[in-house]
């Protein structure tokens, strides 16, 4: 058996070609699938180990969201115009997709801190942490999402068949959220301030994304902001494919998809090159 020789030297990861980085990291992910699964199990299930009703909690949280939706529907507070389906359903789907994006961002941002007890003691591919974090978020999202759909069906809101394309259409949300999150996971080690600013900024971004209102707004300033906000195209396309079975402004969607992919690729490379220098500062 040929023994592999491992070498460590300064700025070693810089020497790897720009495109090779992603292949190496993808390889690491495949090699770490057992680790990702074990870490996922640890963090997803172990958090409920001390609770009597266990993972039933995972179903309770979305119910709260649904209760508020039912409340809005019954009181008829929200009737801002025709969006094709009952307006509260429009908001429910829109906000859960916004939550999906913020979750991608949040879980990627915790990539390094999620492993903080380990990264100083054991050498293992930290890319695995990103995927474990994302898997954890997706699992929680799927539970919520499935319950939402069931409730919508009960209230006779029938989603479009386009829903089967949803996982593909929502993929750019992962690229953008995880890209920003990965950079932030490193920045938050060395500069807590930037982390806070970006998280607040992204929270504000929801108000200039047509999620809880339709893009049919009167204010010209808001219209311009919506137009130039890449999340408009990504979030609204993911929502529209469920409700109407079509994309929201296909050209805008595809341009933003390309940009998101680029952000993710650059962030991944930066993570690969810099994580060592960041980890030694995780005191």
């Amino acid at each position: 058996m040929a023994e592999t020789i491992i070498t460590y030297k300064p700025n070693q990861r810089h020497e790897l070609g720009f495109f090779k980085t992603w292949m190496v990291m993808a390889e690491n992910i495949v090699k770490s699938k057992e680790l990702i699964w074990q870490l996922f199990k640890r963090d997803f299930f172990a958090s409920y180990k001390k609770s009597f009703i266990g993972i039933t909690w995972m179903f309770l949280a979305p119910i709260m969201g649904i209760v508020s939706w039912v409340f809005l529907k019954k009181t008829g507070i929200l009737h801002p115009g025709d969006v094709g389906i009952p307006y509260p359903a429009y908001v429910l789907i829109g906000t859960s997709i916004w939550g999906l994006f913020m979750g991608f961002y949040g879980s990627a941002r915790a990539t390094l801190s999620a492993g903080s007890s380990l990264v100083m003691q054991v050498n293992y591919p930290h890319e695995a942490l990103l995927f474990k974090q994302t898997a954890q978020h997706l699992a929680a999202f799927l539970i919520t999402f499935a319950m939402n759909i069931v409730v919508l069906l009960i209230f006779k809101v029938i989603p479009s068949w386009g829903i089967i394309l949803f996982p593909v259409v929502a993929l750019p949300l992962f690229f953008l959220g995880a890209g920003i999150g990965l950079v932030l996971s490193m920045v938050s080690v060395v500069a807590v301030d930037i982390n806070k600013v970006v998280t607040m900024g992204l929270g504000l971004l929801m108000w200039i994304t047509p999620v809880i209102y339709s893009d049919n707004v009167k204010s010209p300033i808001v219209q311009i902001l919506i137009k130039w906000n890449p999340l408009t195209y990504l979030v609204c396309s993911a929502r529209d494919v469920i409700i109407y079975g079509r994309l929201y402004s296909p050209p805008g969607y595809f341009i933003c998809t390309g940009l998101s992919l680029l952000v993710f690729m650059i962030a991944w490379r930066l993570f690969y090159v810099s994580e060592g220098k960041v980890i030694e500062r995780m005191v």
Binding site: E3, I6, T7, Y8, N11, Q38, V122, L270, S274, K277
Partner: protein
């Protein structure tokens, strides 16, 4: 012609064998850290920004407030060798292990390792307290890079070695610290690494477990090389084939175990800082001397203590404690063990005696003389580390007492 060819083949084989034997090669590595947190964070941002635009940060120069935590370290480790990594606190031992494990990148130099590395830098890193021993074994094995099949095949071995027994399905949070160490060590060594890095793991754990660890390390020796950090010099003496002594981030010594351990002991020596005399008010201490400051193995040691008293005290007890350079108690002499008590008279007094057959290993030893009144433990005289002698002629052993 035939002979020549033969020789050529042989030397080529030798070369190959020699190369194959080197498991770890450390070439002039250095590592810098920053003293202040704020500046460290600032440098972090600068380096990160440079990386973002594709510039390699120059790590070979020190910036303000930075220092070399490791400076120009070089050594080689071959299959079958056990290197003892020793040094006082803060000398860079754990940093060096982290570099070897690939956790931190070096700032200068190069490390190359042939084969798989197993590191036990903090025992049970990643154990989740609410998860059972069984679940944690799977998790920790995955962290150390084992595949599912490998974990399945080694699971029983890990459980047996750790002696977790009936607690396998109890949460790890309820384990004793010794049990956690056993489990951690058991998992880390189960991967059968070519290079095994152990950081002070034998400091915890009971005698029986330590003995089992010795055996494991002994078995690991056949397969690969081991680096072993410990502050316990008899452990170092027992296991290691060579020693690397770090001091303030630099190699202070690299070579034979005996010499390295002696140097370490002298670094840890408190010198004469603890030499003091305390007396009761009625006593005036005059002198405490020994026959010679250099003893050969099995020489006798004579001593004499002179003091004056203002009162008569009958049935006093005299004793003498011998400590080594690290402050460890090595032996104690008590007058009453030899049927001797001392009646102190008003005026000048002398206590003298002879301890036959001193048989310690080669080192420096300090003597503390104590005189207690008959009723208790207060001190009439405490002459702490007052005299010292150097032992020669025995050689270096694992224990202080060489019979």
């Amino acid at each position: 012609m035939t002979i020549l060819t033969h020789t050529c083949i042989e030397s080529a084989q030798d070369e190959r064998r020699g190369e194959k034997d080197v498991i770890l090669s450390v070439k002039n590595i250095s590592k810098k850290f920053c003293k202040t947190l704020r500046r460290s964070m600032a440098y972090g941002i600068i380096d990160l920004s440079k990386n973002l635009v594709g510039i390699k940060p120059d790590s070979t120069q020190l910036r303000r407030d930075e220092f070399w935590a490791l400076d120009n370290i070089k050594f080689e480790l071959r299959r079958g060798e056990v290197l003892g990594l020793i040094g006082v606190n803060g000398s860079g031992k754990t940093t060096l292990l982290r570099l070897l494990a690939g956790i931190f990148p070096p700032d200068k130099g190069e490390i190359s390792i042939k084969g798989r590395t197993g590191a036990l830098i903090a025992v049970g890193a990643g154990f989740h307290p609410h998860m059972t021993g069984r679940e944690n074994i799977r998790l920790n094995s995955a962290i150390l890079g084992m595949s599912r099949m490998e974990i399945d095949s080694k699971f029983q071995d890990i459980v047996d070695f750790a002696e977790i027994g009936t607690f396998l399905d109890s949460p790890v949070g309820t384990y004793s610290s010794g049990m956690r160490v056993r489990l951690g060590f058991s998992i880390a060594t189960a991967i059968q690494p070519d290079l095994l890095l152990l950081d002070e793991i034998l400091a915890v754990g009971d005698r029986k477990f330590i003995a089992k660890c010795y055996n494991r390390i002994g078995n690991a020796r056949a397969r690969g090389a081991t680096i072993f950090v410990s502050h316990n010099m008899s452990q170092i003496n027992r296991i290691c084939t060579s020693v690397l002594l770090l001091h303030q981030g630099k190699i202070a010594f690299y070579g034979s175990t005996n010499e390295g351990v002696q140097l370490y002991n002298s670094l840890c020596s408190l010198g004469n800082t603890e030499r003091f005399v305390h007396t009761a008010p009625e006593i005036r201490f005059d002198d405490f001397r020994i026959s010679s400051e250099k003893l050969d193995w099995r020489d006798d040691l004579s001593f004499q203590v002179k003091f004056a008293s203002t009162v008569d005290i009958e049935n006093c007890r005299a004793r003498m404690v011998i400590v080594d350079e690290t402050g460890q108690n090595v032996a104690e002499w008590q007058g009453r063990n030899h049927g001797k008590t001392y009646n102190i008279k008003r005026g000048e007094n002398v206590i003298e005696d002879r301890i036959p057959n001193i048989s310690f290993r080669d080192s420096k030893y300090y003597l503390t003389f104590v005189l207690n009144p008959p009723d208790g433990f207060s001190y009439l005289i405490l002459a702490n580390r007052y005299c010292s002698f150097i032992m020669t002629g025995c050689g270096y052993g694992v224990t202080d007492h060489q019979l």
